[in-house]
Subunit: 250 residues, 2 copies
DNA sequence: TCAAAAATCAATCAAAATCATTCATTTACA
DNA sequence: TGTAAATGAATGATTTTGATTGATTTTTGA
């Protein structure tokens, strides 16, 4: 395998996983440990990654986020799994909408479909999308400082000009009676419209959002397929009566 | 196999695979190693590919990125002066449009007016604007990877919903006969519409842009006030016959 | 808490792969 | 047929690679 090729593969794996073990890279590239070490040294010198004991990490990945504790409190691992599953639903040639939010952001490095077009209201998504050379359209509108999401009349107006093969929406609550909810009504309107404009709609939510409800309603359960990471059989049956639901196992 | 045919085949394989091993090319073309080496040398000289140890790789457009970086640091002091002058034109309560570009970006930290609202198509401007707690609206549209500007139909559509007290536009050429110009027609349309929607319009350009013209016309000179850093009296008189012009002294 | 054990690391070196160069030989074409 | 360009084989130089060494860091377990 060519050096160039190896370096690309290393950076791609890193983008997907945030942290990679040296041994994983040895396996993935079928090269020796020495070679991978040399690669990592070089890529670090080029400021493409940061070496850590046992492997490598993304540059802007904070040290604390590597700790198991932080990961478990924020359900990072679960979100990654959900995002990975969602990403492989994207097919060659799809036009998709990706909602702002941390879970949907995780999708981007896992998307491998070719010739796709992405529309998003998440400014934080741009870097990853452009990095992968995916043609990207942004909604207009007011920028919500805290989340860097585009909302308001302008966002709705922009959305109206599109329609999607698939959309991927993050929510804060999924509830049997109240449907999909999120705290900000402005955001809810954007999410709601995106759902309507999409042939297939997916809602991404880790288990901490199940059976919860917050202020603003986005849509009824029927409006989308749920992708989550964990759900006991009783609840599963309850939700399955209303809509399709995918439970991603570890 | 003819040289030309080989070259075509090499580039084709390369386009498909991003990187090719020399040995693969030897097999694919049924030529000797020496011949392929010669081909690769030649194609590299023609800037069709990049040789790497063991084969060849596509050349990525890092050249452009460098040129952008170069451009952004060129005449920086002049640009900063122009931007500072423009920034103090912003009054309390104004609604303004700030165009994408390095000169206009420099405006943001110098704006001291209160209760203003900013609309922009420059994604790079966001950080500075939000840092100053300025309510900011972004246009929608396609993201131009090179400049991180929003362009296209979506951007024009978004713009139509606004009107401004003042707008600040960057241009690549100011010419007595050809007016204001910029290389990208898509961007020109956005700039042009912003000018029309504004009660007062300002064009920011350092002296290197004066008496120059590029591909796509934005508007006639009359459509805006010019802010620049240096201009001999003869030219000044020429331009003043057509429009207002502010020359910012050191 | 501490020391032993395990894992990971940087440095070195020889083998393997790749490279540029040279020089006959073949091919293309007038 | 003669000439110039293109080819392929051979040479030694250069680069990359993988194994090995002992040093360093992390983990384990008492």
């Amino acid at each position: 395998m060519l050096t160039e090729e190896r370096h690309r593969l290393i950076l791609e794996l890193l983008a997907e996983k945030k942290v990679v073990k040296l041994q994983e890279l040895v396996e993935a590239t079928a090269s020796s440990e020495s070679t991978i070490r040399r690669d990592l040294s070089q890529l670090e010198k080029e400021k493409k990654l940061r070496r850590v004991h046992g492997g490598a990490a993304l540059l802007h990945q904070k040290r604390e986020e590597l700790s198991v504790l932080e990961k478990s409190t924020k359900n990072m691992e679960e979100k990654r799994m959900i995002a990975q599953y969602a990403a492989q639903l994207v097919q060659d040639g799809d036009c998709i909408y990706i909602d702002a939010g941390t879970t949907t952001l995780e999708m981007v490095p896992h998307i491998h479909a070719k010739d796709i077009v992405v529309v998003t209201n998440g400014i934080t998504h741009l870097e990853a999308l452009l990095e992968k050379d995916i043609p990207t359209y942004l909604l207009g509108g007011l920028i919500k400082k805290k989340t860097k999401a585009l909302i308001g009349r302008g966002a709705l107006h922009s959305l109206e000009h599109y329609s999607f093969d698939k959309c991927f929406i993050g929510v804060n609550g999924i509830h049997h009676d109240f449907g999909y909810t999120t705290p900000d009504p402005e955001e809810a309107m954007v999410k709601s419209l995106a759902l309507k404009l999409s042939r297939q709609a997916y809602v991404l939510a880790d288990h901490s959002k199940m059976n919860e409800s917050t202020f603003a309603k986005i849509a009824d359960l029927e409006a989308a397929t749920i992708i989550t990471d964990e759900l006991d059989d009783e609840l599963l049956a309850l939700y399955e009566a209303k809509t399709a639901i995918e439970v991603v196992k570890k």
